[in-house]
């Protein structure tokens, strides 16, 4: 790591007033969205420190989501691997089955406090869509979810779930028919209906203030790990591992530990069919800085600056950009970004299901695949916390299909 411990402890991790993390982030949007973003920023900066808002957020996380989520010792898997002790932060046990709901609860409260009767969301794997539909139902808000046509196909259980919850799911047929196109379409809706609509972005991407506020709402994950790890094994973990799509579950775990120099940090991107092929979704591992969806960040594009079509077995990681704070953490060397291929993720998916009795989401399986490699290189008295960002119920049809098994 290029930074000294002293540098690392004193680095600035908050964005400036324009929402920049170093050179990244910002508000690269058309003028039509500026007023809405400024208004959101203003209300967020006020509510962030409003005790009533925080109390309501915490209460919802406790009684509706089921927080705190456990920190679980994957003892059998640790033993099989024979290296570091592996702990899972059980975000898969949250209501709706993933970390996404932490952010969704927070943003829906923002919508409520700003008096907007309608919420919209984009979704890849459908987890964020389900979480948005869930909180919208609970607060009596109208909810429209944009989802790429290809993702609708590969995540059909979640599509049905959203409909059961009363949301409208709009199929996005343009571009690569995945998450990036859903995000563009949601932005278009927001520009057009900005007076009565709150846009609940599902990850730490997009224009400021979204990367900051989505991070803050997910940071409950890392804060819990801080006291849980002390309680369970008497110190902070030696390493943190999380998968990175847009990067919300990862930053949620990492952020509270950024100044703790003794904690190594690993974000795992989707290496698809391999980082040396063009078929992956790993902008931090093999992309370059550019501007997409309102932020300057690492992304995948061709030599002419057209955004690349990505590939990953997991819909939730199948995105050519990444949250700008991760771009910053990569450049300053505070976090390491690595890849796990489709095959490695699938192997980990099965292994953890069979050894630990937990069926992970395919997104999470990427973090697990790297956790295995990392654990094997560490000693049994060391610890890794891997963010179990979601459960795999939504993926069983995809996995079965890939393995030639028919479930219907």
């Amino acid at each position: 790591m290029a930074l000294t411990e002293q540098e690392l402890r004193t680095l600035e991790y908050e964005p400036d007033t324009g929402g920049h993390f170093g050179d990244y982030g910002g508000r690269y949007v058309s003028e039509t969205l500026m007023a809405a973003l400024n208004e959101l920023d203003h209300s967020y900066q006020n509510l962030k420190n409003d005790p009533d808002f925080q109390r309501e957020f915490d209460a919802d996380l406790a009684s509706f989501v089921g927080r705190p989520s456990p920190l679980y010792h994957a003892g059998r898997w640790s033993k099989v691997i024979g290296g570091a002790q592996i702990y899972f932060k059980r975000e898969d046990l949250n209501h709706t089955g993933a970390h996404k709901v932490n952010n969704t609860i927070g943003q829906a409260l923002l919508a409520k406090y700003s008096g907007k009767p309608r919420v919209i969301a984009e979704t890849g794997a459908g987890q964020h869509g389900v979480a948005s539909a869930t909180v919208a139902a609970r607060l009596g808000l109208e909810c429209v979810v944009y989802m790429g046509a290809d993702d609708i196909e590969r995540q059909s259980p979640n599509v049905y779930r959203m409909k059961l919850l009363g949301a409208e799911v709009v199929s996005v047929e343009s571009g690569s028919r995945t998450l990036k196109d859903a995000l563009s379409e949601a932005m278009r809706d927001w520009v057009t209906n900005v007076d009565d609509t709150f846009y609940i972005i599902g990850t730490v991407a997009g224009p400021a203030p979204y990367p900051q506020l989505v991070r803050d709402f997910n940071a409950v994950v890392g804060r819990e790990v801080k006291w849980q790890s002390r309680e369970i094994f008497g110190k902070y973990p030696d390493a943190l591992v999380a998968c990175v799509g847009g990067g919300s579950n990862a930053i949620g775990l990492f952020y509270p530990f950024l100044r703790d120099a003794e904690v190594a940090i690993y974000g795992v991107e989707a290496a698809g069919r391999g980082l040396s092929t063009n078929e992956h979704a790993a902008p931090l591992c093999s992309g370059r800085p550019g501007v997409l969806h309102g932020a300057k960040t690492y992304l995948m594009d061709n030599s002419d600056g057209q955004i690349a079509h990505t590939h990953s077995v997991s819909a939730g990681l199948d995105y050519p950009g990444v949250g700008p704070e991760h771009a910053y953490l990569k450049d300053i060397g505070r976090a390491n970004y690595v890849g796990a291929t489709d095959d490695e993720a699938l192997a980990a998916f099965h292994e953890v299901s069979q050894i630990e009795g937990i069926i992970p989401a395919l997104e999470t399986a990427h973090a697990l695949a790297y956790t295995k490699t990392l654990a094997a290189s560490m000693r049994p008295n060391q610890t890794i916390v891997c963010n179990m960002s979601g459960r795999g119920d939504k993926d069983i049809f995809t996995v079965a299909k890939m393995e030639g098994i028919s479930l219907t």
Partner: protein, 271 residues
């Protein structure tokens, strides 16, 4: 002393009491060979300035019509370098009509801001309008554009606050592009009386000409808008027409002309 083609054109229009007609087409839509003839055709129809779209894969401020136009252009092989070459081709026969390149930032970053501005200026481009680069994010592109004598045109919207309007008014050169609607390009609702009031109001903060785009569909819209503003920008109806003729691209130049001529006429008799 005005020195850019855009400024000279705007002043000439003002002197003759006319308003600017500004068509928007996407370079390379549906094929690269049709673009230069289409540009000459819109000039014959009375266009004063051409906004030429630089296609981008993820145009999140555009509606479905312009998005499909960009997709067709990219599929036809149009690149940012190709857009610049298109302009130098056009300049062989037209050295007067100002050209503004309109698009998104990422392709420009990919080429390199300085290389792009130098190439664009050398090809005869006069201005740049980068949809996803508000004045708050201006960086090396702004410097390079200035060094190469390119006007930078910024957007203002119905939701733009007075404070930002002042910032934008200072940053923009050539003209200000007023987005007449909340929403994306190709939205259908245009309230012309609202627009007139707003334009009159903006003149308190902005000294450059104000041209209005988004939602102008016919000669009547163009005439009403131009009675308040300094120009009418017409995009989606033209891109729709291109789309209708994808299989007969040779008919596109005349078809665009047929849409613009009545607009020109209505704008001139109105004034």
């Amino acid at each position: 002393m005005s020195n850019t083609r855009i400024q000279r054109r705007m002043e000439a229009l003002k002197a003759s009491g006319r308003k600017a007609l500004i068509p928007y087409i996407v370079a390379g839509d549906p094929t690269p060979t049709v673009t230069v003839p289409a540009m000459h055709a819109v000039v014959e129809a009375g266009a004063d300035i051409i906004e030429l779209g630089m296609p981008f894969s993820d145009p999140f401020a555009d509606g479905p019509v312009n998005q499909r136009g960009a997709e067709r252009a990219i599929n036809s092989g149009m690149t940012l370098a190709g857009v610049v070459t298109t302009v130098s081709e056009f300049r062989k026969d037209d050295n007067d009509t100002p050209i503004v390149l309109m698009g998104y930032l990422n392709p420009v970053i990919a080429m390199g801001e300085t290389i792009f501005c130098e190439a664009a200026a050398a090809a005869g481009v006069d201005g740049l309008l980068i949809v996803d680069m508000p004045p708050e994010e201006e960086g090396s592109l702004v410097q390079s554009a200035k060094m190469n004598g390119l006007d930078l045109i910024y957007l203002a919207a119905p939701t733009t606050t007075d404070e930002r309007l002042q910032t934008i008014g200072k940053a923009t050169s050539g003209y200000l592009y007023y987005v007449s609607l909340k929403g994306i390009t190709g939205s259908s609702k245009l309230d012309t009386s609202d627009v007139s009031q707003r334009v009159a109001y903006m003149r308190q903060h902005v000294s450059v000409p104000i041209c209005v785009g988004f939602g102008i569909r016919n000669a009547k819209d163009a005439a009403v808008i131009s009675s308040a503003a300094d120009g009418s920008i017409v995009g989606t109806v033209l891109v729709s027409q291109v789309e209708a003729l994808v299989d007969q691209p040779e008919k596109i130049p005349n078809a665009l002309k047929a849409i613009l001529e009545p607009m020109r006429q209505a704008m001139d008799t109105n004034g």
